[in-house]
């Protein structure tokens, strides 16, 4: 269309043109060309504007409706939404164990429910976080597993915990029983630190340091009641127990790390006013080592952990002096997304005086199947032997552990 107009205009101009006006004719032609180009650009711009408007309208389709359709709601009496995170964990098993010579089984074969855990956690305020773990056991009733408040930002890298907590004596003593890699705590831990491990009330200071000798160093200092009847003075304690742990962490590469920890602990075992009786002390020492390999690209399907700990106790009380040593070591391999297998070896001296040469040991092979992140089955066999002690009963156990709610374990 523009071309036709141009041709007509040019012809008209040519008809009117005189030879002397050739220059003015071409000037005029150029001018007309420019005007047509301008018109064309304007038309394109208008076309584009229209397209943009249509696109804008199309983009708005499906947006919120008109303000008239809004319904106003107060949102009051809805504070249940800030209830704490509440989770339950369940831990039960089926056991097959041979009868002993007296015809009694210890522990008996059959089905049993070990513990139901109620776990509650929430921020208290912008500064602190509280955690509670209650344990319901069929034969022992309700027990306060842990209850503590943590101030995570006390100073750079420094956190403070106050309450009753599983103590950082090595690695696994800190864990709840349902989250262990095997069914039960290692023999050395239950024999030397107490049936349930070390779990006392007090304060814990944790300091994460960027030390020159490691990729990360964690220093833990805990001052607690000496309320463990096994190690210290029990409920009538009169002197606190002190724990110190130094954990050094090394990243070998992005898939492999090593952690080595050293723990020392001491406290009085004298009840009622026994302060200052240096000869009535219990001293503990521990060493832990964890080597883990988990390829970052295959972490769901492959991984290996080797963990070992040594425990030493020296309890000097009025009647006797007990010195005992024990430890464990296990390897665990992830076979696939759902399957893991492992083998643990435990050995310990008895927690009694004059125990030189006496020991008890056990082997614990196991196979774990994760139904999902929230339900796990474990088939575990235990067998062992002893010298001058009762040997652990051989037993086969199928364990089921599960969690309801947001419960999760974050180990490294």
């Amino acid at each position: 269309m523009y071309r036709t107009i141009l041709i007509i205009l040019a012809l008209l101009l040519q008809l009117q043109a005189r030879p002397a006006g050739q220059d003015s004719l071409s000037r005029r032609l150029k001018q007309l060309e420019q005007e047509v180009a301008l018109l064309k650009a304007r038309q394109e711009e208008n076309e584009l504007q229209k397209l943009r408007q249509e696109a804008g309208q199309a983009a708005e389709q499906g947006d919120e409706g008109s303000s008239n359709s809004k319904v106003f709601k107060s949102g009051q009496r809805s504070l249940q939404a800030i209830n704490p995170e509440i989770s339950f964990t369940g831990d039960g098993y089926a056991l097959a164990a041979p009868q002993n010579r007296c015809g009694r089984q210890q522990p008996p074969s059959g089905f049993a429910f070990r513990v139901l855990g109620l776990h509650v956690q929430s921020s208290l305020d912008p500064f602190s976080l509280a955690k509670v773990a209650l344990e319901f056991r069929p034969d022992e009733g309700v027990e306060l597993g842990e209850v503590y408040v943590t101030w995570a930002d006390l100073a750079p890298g420094l956190s403070l915990t106050a309450g009753k907590f599983r103590q950082q004596f090595g690695i696994v003593n800190r864990w709840h029983v349902h989250s262990l890699d095997q069914y039960a705590f290692p023999l050395a831990l239950t024999t030397l630190l107490g049936e349930e491990g070390l779990n006392q009330s007090g304060l814990s200071l944790d300091w994460l340091v960027s030390a020159p000798w490691a990729d990360a160093t964690n220093v833990t200092l805990q001052i607690t009641n000496g309320s463990s009847p096994h190690l210290f003075a029990g409920e009538d304690f009169s002197f606190p127990a002190l724990l110190f742990r130094l954990g050094n962490y090394y990243d070998f590469n992005e898939n492999t790390y090593l952690e080595i920890g050293f723990t020392g602990m001491g406290g009085s075992n004298v009840a009622h006013g026994g302060i200052g009786r240096g000869d009535r002390m219990t001293r503990l020492a521990g060493m832990d080592l964890t080597l883990a390999w988990e390829p970052v690209n295959r972490a769901r399907y492959s991984g290996f952990v080797w963990r070992s700990e040594l425990f030493y106790v020296d309890r000097n009380d009025a009647a006797e002096r007990i010195r005992a040593l024990g430890g464990y070591s296990y390897v665990q391999y992830r076979l696939s997304e759902r399957w893991q297998t492992g083998l643990r070896f435990d050995i310990t001296q008895p927690f009694q005086a004059a125990n030189s040469g006496d020991y008890q040991y056990q082997w614990v092979p196991y196979l774990t199947w994760w139904q999902s992140h929230w339900a796990r089955f474990r088939l575990e066999y235990t067998t062992g032997g002893a010298k001058n002690m009762t040997a652990p009963t051989s037993r086969l156990r199928l364990q089921l552990t599960w969690a309801i709610g947001p419960h999760k374990h974050e180990r490294y």
Binding site: A55, G157, L208, D215, V296, R411
Partner: protein, 353 residues
């Protein structure tokens, strides 16, 4: 003897301003966030990522060395939405109050992104849940512009004096994303903002197909990744996990089913059998998965169905040739396109026979 001492002292004084202008130490969860931060922050930031491009961001051990990184951080960028479930543990261990949620040193990458796939039923029977919506926001390149906005807001809070510098870098990044997604010509005609709105609303391709300009259909002006992705628009795939919801939305892909029966639940043999039957019945011949999932499982399913596996990294650096966000999206689009081309070739060959 005194002269060298004085020289040393004077040099120290002269070096003071340079030392004062120290870089902002940024730690990000995903490697993709680290790449974006490096682009908008330029030489004024030092960036470290925790999650590798070929790593599953859900399952990362909260190692003490990460806590040490966060202890030093001025700015921490994470997705939020419970993608990085381990992150609160590392932040707690770091004891650095500046980078906690709600503080100036924290950036939630998802802020401002229209979340898809919000669960209607909040129950573990649905597998792993993200109650606010799907957290795999980085799979739509248009979302990267919003993430870059958020990161720049975070940088400005710490270093307001460099605001103009960050904003200029942000503009360059946004423009580059627009050009890469829509092509130069369409961006010149319609503008990136409008195109982004239309694409996010889901009506861009329909609009371009209906409208004309200068005697040509608007779709003919389309370039970039969207043009490259036209061969698989409207096509159906199977995915391993709900990683690709945002990618699907932009590129118009349909997902028939997932290798995981529910998010986070490992596939059972029975479910895999059903999936294979379904793929055969529906003639679905492409299976897309993040490259941290089981390659054996993916290849096994594909072999049984005659499908083409597309295993790609979720993040920057997760495979060769994915060194930045642009090459990462290039990788996704080109591999998916190539898979559908292979499927077509196979189909034609079988028809000839």
């Amino acid at each position: 003897m005194r002269k060298p001492l004085w020289t040393l002292f004077l040099s120290f004084l002269l070096l003071q301003p340079a030392m004062a202008a120290k870089k902002i130490y940024v730690v990000t969860t995903l490697s993709t966030y680290a790449d974006i931060t490096a682009r908008v922050g330029g030489e004024r930031v030092e960036v470290h990522a925790i999650v590798r491009g070929n790593q599953d961001a859900h399952f990362v051990r909260p190692k003490p060395s990460y806590a040490v990184m966060l202890q030093k951080a001025d700015l921490f960028v994470s997705t939020g939405l419970d993608l990085e479930l381990w992150a609160p543990t590392v932040v707690d261990r770091a004891g650095n109050p500046k980078i906690r949620s709600g503080q100036p040193g924290y950036v939630a990458a998802w802020d401002g992104i229209k979340l898809l796939d919000k669960p209607t039923v909040l129950s573990r029977s649905e597998g792993g849940l993200h109650i606010y919506g799907n957290p795999h926001i980085t799979t739509n390149p248009l979302n990267l512009k919003v993430i870059a906005d958020n990161i720049v807001t975070g940088l400005e809070k710490i270093d307001p004096a460099s605001s103009a510098y960050y904003r200029a870098n942000l503009k360059a990044f946004r423009d580059e994303i627009d050009r890469r997604v829509f092509g130069d010509e369409l961006v010149r005609l319609m503008g990136g903002t409008l195109l982004t709105r239309l694409a996010n609303q889901g009506g861009l391709i329909d609009f371009l197909q209906k409208k004309s300009f200068k005697g040509k259909k608007m779709i003919e002006y389309l370039g970039g990744w969207l043009k490259e992705g036209m061969p698989f628009r409207g096509k159906t795939i199977v995915a391993y996990h709900k990683n690709w919801v945002y990618f699907q939305h932009l590129f118009g892909l349909r997902v028939l089913d997932y290798v995981e029966p529910k998010p986070g639940i490992p596939p059972s043999p029975k479910h895999v059998e059903e999936l294979i039957r379904e793929m055969r019945a529906q003639k679905v011949r492409v299976l897309m998965a993040a490259n941290y999932f089981s390659a054996e499982k993916v290849h096994d399913i594909c072999a049984k169905v005659g499908a083409v596996p597309v295993m790609v990294p979720m993040g920057v650096g997760g495979a060769g040739g994915t060194g930045d966000v642009f090459s990462l999206v290039d990788y996704w689009v080109s591999h998916l396109k190539a898979a559908f081309e292979t499927v077509n070739t196979k189909k034609q060959e079988s028809e000839k026979r």
